[in-house]
Every structure is written in structure tokens, then in C-alpha cells.
């Protein structure tokens, strides 16, 4: 436990059993676990296995904010946490919660980082030192406006805000969920450096392919127990291999969308500058590019949720839809859109009704439920589901209207590896059976090739390159394609 008289274990669980109040099922069952200083530890496992519960127990969110029944001992920096208040624990453990963009309350980076230090009663001189240290560690400028930051920068800002409070134990809940490759590498490199500087860094993440090269220790959570993974590479292969594309190519020579010098300017910012390419009927198009390059904007233009401010998008889906018009109800029955935030598209009282809402018949809705393996959730309220389940139900609900064009914005976020494999297999099966045209945005290396016939790489609002699976491979593995 001690090396040269220094405490090595930052977090220790000793036979911890935990269940949420009102639920008989134990999330943790005599689980033992530890995370050490000087190490970057990852906690992996399937969705709903209890990873976030472990983080909440470490940070004191359970039992201070969320009630439950707990047996066993949890030691933080050698001290038992039983009876400790959140305000005391947060001086020892910094937690970076999911959804960084929802946690920012100040207009400037400097003030956001200083907030935690003010709460800890640091002197102004010390706060300034902490702000500068955190900004340089997380590659941020204290004078930046928080409203103008990209998703990756917001994630780094919230991490910097936690770092500034000088806790030596940092835990992060799915920090890579919406980050591109560059953002991920930057964050993971900085977390690695922190571990080398003596911090204990614990991260919960599904994207093991991006995380494992940086980590020292891997823990797997299964059936309420935590297991230390001895062979990282074996584990990586079984949990993060690239999914093989088994889909038969359905591409035809007919053009479905033709984009000619498309541009979009919003709030004086040119998001798309000059986008020119074609999408053919029955093609699976993958939009590649870093955070903020305009992929989601382009998807919205194709969906007719926004109109381009320059150039034109010609559709050959149906002449009656016309050109340069906003999407009508009939348009959206032909063009299915799955949002980045799935909860916004769910509104019916049960999953069954949600899927049946756009379906041609109840029978077809049942088939779709069976295909997406959500039959067991049929009577649940869609908003009561986990994030991964919500995403699955949203995709099922949109798929039930049998659209000829399927636009998917980050459809795999929040899915564990088996969920991801299943989701890709379902999407490809629907594509094969219905011959739809699928246009996907994803940062997930594991599934990118499996949903791609035609890759379009966007840099700063321009199409930098078009290609097939080889472009996807190069994008995720090499740097040279961007020069």
C-alpha cells in the first residue's frame, strides 16, 4: 500500500455493496477496487453496469445528493468517506461530470476557472496562479469568451476548472463523448501528464481505443463486481476492435443530392464556405472532420432544417419537394433525421407509441421494436430511459417511418461496445433491406468504416478530400491527410 512511506492508493473500495433507494437490485455487490496516485486508471464496462455509480460514490454525490443503501468501506486518500459532506469531499476529489456545455456559468474562461478556487477560499494571488496553471495545462486562453468555445474546448475548460481547485484526485465521466480525434488526443495527453505529476486520474469511458494507449490500469465492471484487467491489449481487442462492414453496397449511379458551392454564415461566422460534392442514391456517406468544421451544419442543410446562405443544394428525391425550400411534414417522412441529443425527439407516453407514431402500421412498429431489441421497454416512458436506450429508441422511431434518406448525427454516442456492434448491424440491415441513403456523422473510429461507402472530409467549411474506406482509415490513423 505504501511506497517509501507515501500513500499510493488515492481511492479504495473494500467490499462495497450498493443499491439505489427504492430499487432492490444491487449495482455493486461486495466490490473491491483501487486507483493509485501517479496513475491514469480507466473504468470500463457495459452501459448500466454501474460505472457512473462508482464515480458518484467517490465524489460524494452518493449519498449526499442521491440516496441509496451502502455497505463496505470507501477510502479517499486513506480516509473513510462515511458521513462526509460533499463540500468536504470536493476539496479532495475533483469530478468532471458529463455534458460540459451545461456546466459553464461565466462569460470568460478566467472567471469560470476561478469559481471553484473562490469557493475554496483561496487568496486572489493563489487563484491567479491556479488559473494560469490550469489554462496552460489545458491549452486555454484565460481571456476567451466561453460562449465561443468548441465542444472540445468546453470539455477542457470544465476539466481546467476542476484542476484549479488543486485536488490530487481527478475523476472524469465520459469526457470524450463528443470529442474529435485531435481533441481526444490533447485531453488524454494532458491527463497522462497530470498522472505523471503525481495525480490520481480515474476516467470512465466507452471509447477504449482512444483511451487505452494512455492508461496504466484498466478496471472492468461486471455483475456488480470490479476486476483488474491484466492484459490491456487483449481487453482492447475484445472491447474496441473496428467493426467489419458486412453490408452489400447498394450505391446506384443516380444522384440524390448535388451540393454546389454551398456556404452558410450565422452570427457573422462562416461555418460552411464552399462545399461541392454529390450524394448518390443508396449510398452510405460518412462526413469526417474535426469539431466545429461544419459537419452537423451540413447535415441540417441536407435535412432542410436550415437554408444555405450561398450556393445551392439540388435534391432529386422527388420533384414535388421543389428546391431551396424548408422541410415540410411530407419531406420529413422521406428524410429521417436523428439528432445529436435524442431526448428532444421523444414525446409520446410509451416507447411503443413513440415508435408507432411515424410507422405505417402497428405491425411494422412491432417489427422495428424487435429489430432494435427494445421490446422489453415497450411500456416505459421514453424520457425515463438511459441515454443509450433513448438514442436507440429515437433511431427506431425515425426508422419506423421508413425514410428513403437517413441522416444520423453521432448515432453511437453513449453505446457500449456490444451496443455499438448491434446498432451498426441494425442500421446496415435496414440499409440493405430498404435501399435507403444513409448520411452519418461520427467521431467513433470503431464503427466509421462500417457505415461508409463514400467519405467526405471537411476542413474549415471546405471539402478537403473525398474517398472510400481508405480515407476513413487515413483520417483516423495518420496526420498527413490534413496537409
Amino acid at each position: 500500500m505504501c511506497r517509501y512511506g507515501i500513500l499510493m492508493k488515492a481511492v479504495e473500495f473494500i467490499n462495497v455493496t450498493f443499491s439505489y433507494e427504492g430499487s432492490g437490485a444491487a449495482v455493486l455487490d461486495t466490490a473491491s477496487f483501487c486507483a493509485e496516485y501517479n496513475q491514469l486508471t480507466v473504468l470500463a464496462g457495459f452501459s448500466g453496469a454501474g460505472k457512473s455509480t462508482v464515480l458518484s460514490l467517490i465524489a460524494g454525490i452518493i449519498p449526499n445528493e442521491v440516496s441509496g443503501n451502502m455497505c463496505g468501506e470507501i477510502l479517499i486518500a486513506g480516509e473513510n468517506v462515511r458521513g462526509k459532506q460533499l463540500r468536504g469531499l470536493c476539496r479532495k476529489v475533483g469530478i468532471v461530470l458529463q455534458n460540459a456545455e451545461l456546466q459553464i456559468i461565466h462569460p470568460y474562461v478566467e472567471d469560470e476557472i476561478a469559481f471553484g478556487c473562490e469557493n475554496c477560499n483561496f487568496s486572489p494571488a493563489l487563484i491567479e496562479e491556479c488559473v494560469l496553471y490550469s489554462c496552460s495545462t489545458m491549452k486555454l486562453n484565460p481571456a476567451w469568451e466561453t460562449g465561443t468555445l468548441s465542444g472540445g474546448q468546453k470539455q477542457r475548460l470544465i476539466t481546467a476548472a476542476v484542476l484549479a481547485m488543486k485536488q490530487k484526485i481527478i475523476v472524469l465521466d465520459e469526457p470524450l463523448a463528443n470529442l474529435d480525434r485531435d481533441g481526444t488526443l490533447l485531453l488524454m495527453t494532458e491527463l497522462r501528464k497530470l498522472a505523471e505529476c503525481g495525480y490520481a486520474v480515474l476516467i470512465v469511458e466507452h471509447r477504449l481505443d482512444m483511451v487505452l494507449p494512455f492508461v496504466d490500469t484498466v478496471w472492468d465492471i461486471r455483475s456488480g463486481k470490479l476486476f483488474r484487467v491484466e492484459n490491456k491489449m487483449e481487453y482492447l481487442k475484445s472491447h474496441a476492435g473496428c467493426i467489419t462492414d458486412t453490408c452489400v453496397q447498394k450505391t446506384t449511379d443516380d444522384v440524390l443530392f448535388s451540393l454546389e458551392h454551398v456556404g452558410l454564415t450565422a452570427a457573422k461566422r462562416q461555418i460552411l464556405k464552399d462545399i461541392t460534392f454529390s450524394i448518390r442514391k443508396g449510398e452510405r456517406v460518412l462526413l469526417l472532420g474535426e469539431n466545429g468544421c461544419g459537419k452537423t451544419t451540413l447535415l441540417r442543410l441536407l435535412a432542410r432544417l436550415s437554408m444555405p446562405t450561398k450556393g445551392k443544394i439540388i435534391q432529386y428525391l422527388d420533384t414535388s419537394f421543389g428546391q431551396n425550400r424548408k422541410g415540410s411534414r411530407r419531406w420529413f417522412s422521406e428524410v429521417g433525421v436523428v439528432y445529436q441529443n435524442p431526448a428532444n425527439q421523444l414525446f409520446m407516453p410509451t416507447v411503443m407509441q413513440e415508435i408507432a407514431y411515424g410507422a405505417e402500421s402497428e405491425q411494422y412498429a412491432r417489427e422495428i421494436m424487435h429489430l432494435f431489441r427494445v421490446e422489453h421497454l415497450a411500456e416505459r416512458h421514453p424520457q425515463s430511459l438511459s441515454e443509450g436506450q433513448k438514442r436507440r429508441v429515437t433511431i427506431a422511431s425515425v426508422a419506423a417511418s421508413n425514410p428513403r434518406v437517413f441522416l444520423l448525427d453521432e448515432p453511437t454516442v453513449g453505446q457500449d461496445y456490444s451496443g455499438l456492434q448491434e446498432m451498426i448491424s441494425i442500421l446496415n440491415r435496414l440499409h440493405e433491406e430498404n435501399g435507403n441513403t444513409m448520411i452519418t456523422v461520427t467521431h467513433d473510429l470503431r464503427c466509421a468504416e462500417a457505415v461508409c461507402d463514400h467519405a467526405v472530409y471537411i476542413i474549415n467549411g471546405f471539402v478537403a478530400e473525398e474517398g472510400g474506406k481508405e480515407l476513413v482509415r487515413r483520417y483516423f490513423t495518420k496526420d498527413d491527410i490534413r496537409h
Binding site: L97, P107, F115, N344, S397
Partner: protein
């Protein structure tokens, strides 16, 4: 929060709030009098000189439109020029009273109030509330677009429209407030009287005293003369 409107050298927030209150009350009371427009013009110039240039310019188009609409309605109803003039002054008084709120950043206000020992739950709540309105607008736009994609944006089916608008919006807002509350707590914020510091203390400067004295003088002059 519109960062672009913040003053380069902010006013002392408490004086800013006090001046807003004084201008609104004086302007509303003196609205029918012929000197009121002089008072409001002078106050606008004082704000402009004391660093609130961008906020001063930003209110002009809104004030112009509101003045035209309300004075038009007043004249159409009363056929009285003085009533229309008073309506214009009332709109201008409120528009000018808003300037300190636009020009002082919420974090300055929170730090000022923290130093005055006002409970932090009030000051932080105030800042989150100011942050919340743009967020709410953005969430409403997102939900409206999501409704379109599911074919649920037609008022022809009011039950579906209601469900598709309110359920995701309410769930999202609850989710945002939960996340925000947890985030500030895990970053050491407590609603009690625990010790805390202020990163950049907000102190009264000579110019702040000169500013509030000028505003007090203008208000007193308008009321008594």
C-alpha cells in the same frame, strides 16, 4: 449574456443598480414634464461618458421602435400630444435604466454582492438566471426543429404539438438545472455561510463616486426644478 456590451471600465455594480432605479423612478414621475427629455438625454450622455458606450448605442434601435409603437397607440387612443410625449419619455426612461444591467458583467455584480456579504445563493442564482434566458431560447429552437423532424409541428394536432414541445423542453430544462446544480456543488459552492474569497475584488473608485453624484444631482434637479 452579451459579452460585447460590457463596459471596458465597469461601473461599481451597486451604483449601477442604484442609478437604474433612480432613473426609472424619476423618468416615470417626470414623464409629462417638458424637462424630462433633457433629463433623459443628460443621463444617456453620462452613461456614454462613463464607459457604457456599447450598451448606450445598443438600446437606441429598440427604444426607437418601442417609442414609435407606444406613442402611436397613445395618440390614436387619446388624440393628445402631451400623452404621446409622456409615453415616449416612459419608454426612454426604462430603456436608459436598462443600460447598467447590460454594461456590467454578472460576475462583477456577483463579486460586488459577495463582498457586501449578500448570501451567495442569491448572487449565484442571479448569475445563473441571467445565463438561463439565452439558453432557454436556444433550447426552444432545438426542440422546434426536433418537432419538425418527427412531423409533430402542426397545430392541426394540438395534443401532439403540446406533447412534442413541452415534454422534451421540460425534461431538458430539468436535466440542465440538475447538472448545473451538481456541477457548482462539486466545485465547492455551498448555499450556507462557508468561507469564500473573491478573485478580483470590486472596489469603489473616484469615478464611481463622481458617476453616482452626477446621477443623483440630475434626478434631484429634475424632481425639484
Amino acid at each position: 449574456m452579451n459579452v460585447r456590451l460590457y463596459a471596458e471600465r465597469p461601473l461599481y455594480p451597486l451604483f449601477g443598480l442604484l442609478s437604474s432605479l433612480l432613473i426609472a423612478i424619476t423618468g416615470l414621475l417626470a414623464a409629462p414634464h417638458e424637462n424630462c427629455i433633457l433629463f433623459l438625454g443628460s443621463v444617456w450622455v453620462v452613461f456614454f461618458v462613463f464607459g457604457c458606450r456599447r450598451a448606450c448605442l445598443a438600446v437606441i434601435p429598440y427604444a426607437a421602435v418601442l417609442c414609435a409603437v407606444f406613442s402611436g397607440i397613445t395618440y390614436a387612443v387619446s388624440r393628445d400630444g402631451i400623452s404621446s410625449y409622456a409615453a415616449v419619455n416612459r419608454i426612454l426612461a426604462v430603456s436608459i435604466a436598462v443600460i447598467p444591467g447590460l454594461a456590467v458583467s454578472p460576475v462583477q455584480m456577483v463579486r460586488n454582492f459577495s463582498m457586501l456579504k449578500i448570501p451567495r445563493i442569491i448572487t449565484l442564482g442571479m448569475m445563473i438566471t441571467l445565463n438561463f434566458f439565452p439558453l432557454l431560447g436556444n433550447e426552444i429552437r432545438q426542440v422546434r426543429k426536433a418537432m419538425k423532424t418527427r412531423g409533430a409541428d402542426s397545430m392541426a394536432s394540438p395534443r401532439i404539438f403540446y406533447r412534442a414541445f413541452f415534454i422534451p423542453l421540460v425534461v431538458r430544462l430539468v436535466n440542465i438545472s440538475d447538472t448545473l446544480a451538481l456541477s457548482v456543488q462539486t466545485r465547492g459552492f455551498t448555499s450556507g455561510s462557508s468561507a469564500h474569497s473573491v478573485y478580483k475584488p470590486v472596489r469603489v473608485r473616484f469615478t464611481d463616486v463622481a458617476f453616482i453624484l452626477l446621477i443623483l444631482g440630475l434626478c434631484a434637479g429634475t424632481v425639484f426644478l
